[in-house]
């Protein structure tokens, strides 16, 4: 759905999404890297299990919630990808470590 413009060349970063090996460019957020790699849905809703994909890319909508290195509920659009990162689809409700 997105392609990298040819004038942008930065160091490559390797990470996995649901076990699949992918590459990103240094400076990408997790959500940007997934879109660049052709991945769309990053979570399934807790209510109807509908697939959802990043919507706002600025930390507002929480549609990009993923599991990163085992920790659920991470906002993919605010988290930079780093070498060796393990990203997984978030299925339904993870137990929210909400303080409310």
């Amino acid at each position: 759905m997105y392609r990298r413009l040819p004038d942008r060349a930065r160091a490559l970063v390797r990470f996995t999404f649901d076990g699949e090996a992918l590459t990103a460019q240094e400076g990408d957020t997790v959500a940007a890297a997934l879109l660049a790699a052709g991945q769309l849905a990053t979570r399934h809703t807790p209510v109807s299990r509908a697939p959802r994909a990043p919507y706002c890319m600025m930390g507002v909508c929480f549609e990009c919630l993923v599991v990163i290195d085992g920790a659920p509920n991470r906002q993919g659009c605010l988290t930079p990808v780093v070498e060796g990162m393990r990203v997984e689809t978030q299925q339904g409700a993870a137990v929210f470590e909400d303080a409310e």
Binding site: M1, R3, R4, R52, P54, M57, V60, N73, L78, D98
Partner: protein
Amino acid sequence: MSERFTSASDLRRSYDLVIVGAGPAGLAAAATASGFGLSVLLADENGAPGGQIYRGITRSSEADRRRLGPDYAAGKKLSAAFAESAAAYTLGALVWSVAPTDEETPDADYPLEVGISLGGVARAIGAQRVLLATGAIERPFPIPGWTLPGVMSAGAAQILLKTSALAPSGRTVIAGSGPLLYLLASQLIAAGAPPVALVDTTPRKNWRVALPDFPAFAMSSYAAKGLKLLFDVAKRIRVIRNVSALEAVGGDKFETLIVTRTNGTMERIDADLLLLHQGVAPNLNLSSAAGCALEWDEKQALFRPKRDEWLESSEAGISIAGDGGGIVGAQASVIEGEIAGLVAAFRLSRISKEMFAQRGAELKKRLASVLRGRAFLDRLFRPADEFRVPQRDDAIVCRCEEVSAGRVRATAALGVQGPNQMKAFLRCGMGPCQGRLCGLTVSEMIAQARGVSPADVGYYRLRPPVKPVPLREFAAMPQSDAAITAVAGFVERSVEKGSAAGSLEPDNRIVER
């Protein structure tokens, strides 16, 4: 040189001024206030300074700046001035609360406490004053199908272009209203990814309503630029106007946008990506959770925090500058940031009354001059009623809890008085986004059902933390003995030396009551 921190535990116990948001307003305020000798901490949850308009500016290439245009490139100067300043900054830092200092905090000589989470560590940092420069968010655009993967906000596509040089690769449709929609269209054209169509939902009647403000606009700096933009985009891509309804359809992902025109005809546009936008609204979550009073702005159809003529909120010591206080645009945000920096310096007695009066008057004059013409834009791009309040019952209003317009309407018809009561019925606004994507819609739907103004209905009551913070970070925060006693009834202490409760081995502790 500004100093950068990567863990909240390295921050000082307190600062003269804590600024939230490193967009134009926050950057300008930080440079101004530190120039007057205040100790300043600037915090932003993004990984780089710039806010929305100047996202990724510090790492942008010449190609990026050419594609994104001169208004974007202008951010280089602002970020350089900030980098030269003495202000401390933290990026990737979520500010989750601003509140009066806890009475239990020992020897606190500051009136405000700011909750910051950075590098997996949460801390309450003291502040003499706080400036909220949290900017704007895109207004909700609840049409049927807007939750499908493949539907994104226009701002999202712009962010991908700015920070990762990613351009849509398939067929893209952009739909909605407002100057940013046309700006994005021109940026996508410059990136070699022109949309197949721009569906403009600006109601035709807005031109008539805005006309009296046209002369002031015609004399402003936006006029020539703005009209050229409209013209250039219309020359390059198909623009569809006079639209009364939109629906996104698809299976597991977006496939087709169905456009209904005001004359009743319908058109299906097949595409891979739909980008929606109908203007921006102040990002209220932090100011509202800090207790700042809000007011309804009928002209722009949004809530904003109440401010006095010096940008101070209803809460002592808390100022608000930039789009977070009401939509003014990037240039005005910079000036508001400078005003807020000046006010902080004056209130903390770093500058004389005379200097404050003189500089303040100059800045206000500049502000009035950049705001000239704004009224025309506000009236012209006030989003259509039928796109602020969904007409169809199957449109989802609260994306987090999947609450449809039909359910909100039916519940409002039961006599629900306001959005907080609606939460109890439907859970709308109680998901992780904390109402950011449904707040305005729900308030307007209740107002419509009650036949009153949204001013009488109000907005969600928001509470800190404004975003979920892992419990382990809270648990590890240093606490005063009094605070621990208040919760636990006693303080546990290790024999060797006092330390925060929770990190103790069971065999070497004593209990104080």
